[in-house]
């Protein structure tokens, strides 16, 4: 960099000879490295986190003899050697299914209305602005809401349905926003073509717009569920913490994966701490698989639209 200014001087270009640009160039370079460091920071932290989890996972399997088979076939227990993750995994899966059912139809329905039917009025803009706000509400607030309205209000206790309501409320704004994006990506010419054949609005949405938008909607929904599966705070608020058993239906009490991990991590014995590490690896695997499926769907269908 500094050679540029030197050549300028050598060429006899005396106009700027009294200005030393080398500091400016150095600042330029410095800033570039700062930005690189900033962008690497997240990657390094993620790598450190994964390394920490994986080493704990490894010592758990080797030094504490945690058998993965038993880990997946036993329920939680106060006795460390009898403790497993089965109840939590099944509770989380049931929770995800119920959350998806609760949030998907309302979320997609609301997005279709906002994108396809709603006039561009003040009320529509108000609804959309509130959805954006809703997406930023801390998750523990949804937990409080479910605690007040469902657990104590209706009085059903800390059961799976209550947890699903909290998580459903949490992910619904995300599903609505991503569905809106997916619907917006369908070109208007396709809609107009459909109208030109005499199709009604509903026929157009059902036969033309939705099929084109469904990969985007699925991607958004899966990513939203991937966020929900790792949520701990709303479930703690709902009170789903200290149950060790596998739930058999939606009205059973439960402890999902993140709350079971939280529970184990608060135990005094090292064995439980390492059980928590194994649990974290399982939870992260769920997250990676769900994110992977979402990415796959996006890439698989992206080109066809």
């Amino acid at each position: 960099m500094s050679t540029e200014t030197e050549t300028g001087v050598e060429d006899g270009n005396t106009l700027f000879s009294d200005i030393d640009l080398s500091w400016e160039h150095r600042k330029n370079e410095l800033f570039r490295w700062l930005l690189i460091a900033a962008s690497l920071f997240g990657v390094v932290m993620l790598a450190l986190l994964l390394f920490d989890v994986v080493t704990d996972f490894y010592t758990g399997l080797t030094e504490f003899n945690i058998s993965l088979y038993e880990f997946f076939t036993q329920d939680g227990s106060q006795e460390e050697t009898r403790a497993g993750f089965k109840g939590a995994v099944i509770a989380s899966i049931m929770l995800m299914i119920m959350t998806a059912v609760l949030a998907f139809f309302v979320g997609v329905g609301s997005a279709i209305y906002l994108e396809e039917y709603a006039p561009d009025s003040r009320i529509t803009r108000l609804i959309e602005a509130n959805l954006a706000n809703l997406a930023g509400v801390p998750s523990i607030v949804y937990g409080l809401l479910a605690l007040a309205a469902v657990v104590n209000g209706i009085g059903i206790g800390p059961i799976l349905i209550a947890g699903a309501v909290a998580l459903g409320l949490l992910v619904m704004p995300i599903i609505i926003v991503s569905t809106q994006e997916a619907l917006r990506a369908v070109p208007d010419s396709v809609r107009n073509g459909s109208y030109a054949t005499g199709a009604t609005k509903w026929q157009t949405i059902r036969r033309v717009v939705l099929p084109a938008a469904i990969p985007g909607i699925m991607t958004g929904t899966i990513l939203a569920l991937a966020r929900a599966i790792g949520e701990t705070a709303p479930l703690i608020m709902v009170g789903a913490l200290f149950v060790n058993r596998t739930p058999s239906g939606p009205t059973d009490r439960f402890s999902a994966m993140p709350t079971q991990i939280y529970n184990w991590a608060a135990q005094p014995s090292e064995h439980f701490i390492h059980l928590a590490a194994v649990g974290i690896v399982v939870l992260l695997s769920f997250l990676f698989v769900m994110n992977g499926v979402a990415i796959y769907i996006r890439h698989r269908y992206e080109t066809e639209v």
Binding site: S77, R125, N130, N133, F242, R253, P268
Partner: protein, 362 residues
């Protein structure tokens, strides 16, 4: 990456205009939370009743239903272990043990939000008042003995014992002890890192009452936590760490980590004793050994006589084993006799007898 700025700016412009509306929405949610809290106080019964699955029948062969247990973080492992064994014997039952601390637990128990309450100290006058305000009638069982361990780091080679007076000087309100040499002049002039339980716990109440002399009166500049293993971990990580907590948690980690108990002066004979099984069961580790309790709500017993009564009897039958399994000490045999008598009294109160229960007395 490139998409992000545009989407962010579009939402923020749309948002700014309606920020107030959003805030109003959040306010409504907060209000709902407050209202819910009130409901919980007055109508908590509904919540419990719903979980009972209508199991009020006496003498039915299969027990079923949910038992809510609140209470001590220290005693929770014993109650949870008893509950787990109970669930194993009667698969349709569920014992949901939430270890929020004795004080916090009594707030639930005395509002009829739990059926069983584990406690690492006796119920206080305030809590008795709260219970009677809400018409909560209760009884308690003694389920084990706990030592309260005063702990230091293993690399700390200067503290060989500590008197009750020194403990009081370290922990009392507005204590001026900052360094080890403030306790005894020959100890090093290094700052002490103090770790102990917060005021929600029975362990806290017990320590402050029996060492400092008045419940709750403690210095306010130590690091307080509701999790005993955080105390133990912090002391194991720091040569200058010093604290106290339930002995069970120390037993779990003392073999793997550099932490050990300090011999404490006994108010029985003035000697210094470690919290060993022998010393505790002989009454020499005093005043820092204490009985542990499980309180039972008599209204719950009346409502679901077989379920709650059976659990009380089941807990009593195995309490000595459960306590030992979880790193505590067994209550003496006399306590088991006493517990059985109490269960008989409760059952009589609700018009039943021990023969109505599914679980038999051992």
């Amino acid at each position: 990456m490139t998409e992000q700025p545009s989407s962010v700016s579009s939402t923020s412009t749309a948002t700014r205009r309606h920020v107030l509306l959003g805030a109003a929405g959040a306010g409504v949610a907060g209000l709902a939370g407050c209202l819910g809290g009130d409901d919980e106080g007055n109508g908590g019964n509904d919540g419990n009743g719903g979980n009972g699955n209508g199991n009020g029948g006496n003498g039915s062969s299969g027990l079923s239903g949910t038992i809510d247990a609140s209470g001590s973080n220290t005693v929770a492992p014993i109650t949870a272990w008893a509950g787990e064994n109970f669930e194993e014997a009667y698969p349709d039952t569920l014992v949901d043990v939430a270890p929020e601390g004795t004080g916090a637990g009594f707030q639930e128990f005395c509002r009829q939000n739990s059926d069983v309450q584990s406690a690492s100290r006796m119920i206080t006058d305030d809590e008795v008042d709260l219970c009677s305000e809400n018409d909560v009638n209760y009884g308690f069982l003694e389920v084990g003995l706990d030592g309260l361990a005063v702990v230091k780091n293993s690399e700390n080679d200067w503290v060989e014992d500590i008197t009750l007076d020194e403990l009081k000087r370290v922990w009392e309100f507005e204590s001026d002890v900052q360094t080890w040499s403030d306790i005894r002049p020959e100890w090093p002039d290094r700052e002490i890192a103090l770790h102990a339980r917060d005021s929600a716990s029975g362990t806290f109440d017990y320590f402050t009452e029996n060492v400092i002399g008045e419940r709750g009166l403690i210095r306010d500049d130590y690091s307080a936590t509701s999790q005993t293993n955080e105390i133990m971990g912090a002391v194991a990580d720091n040569v200058d760490g010093f604290g106290w907590g339930g002995l069970g948690y120390l037993r779990e980690i003392e073999d793997d980590q550099p932490i050990e108990a300090v011999p404490v002066e006994s108010d029985a004979d003035g000697g210094f004793y470690l919290p060993t099984e022998q010393n505790i069961e002989d009454g020499l580790y005093s005043p820092l050994a204490r009985p542990l309790f499980a309180f039972f709500n008599i209204a719950s017993l009346e409502e679901r006589t077989d379920l709650i009564g059976s659990f009380a009897q089941f807990y009593t039958n195995g309490a000595q084993d459960y306590a030992r399994d979880q790193g505590f000490y067994a209550a003496p045999d006399a306590a088991t006799e006493e517990n059985n008598d109490k269960i008989d009294e409760w059952l009589e109160e609700v018009g039943a007898s021990i023969d109505d229960l599914t679980v038999e007395r051992e």
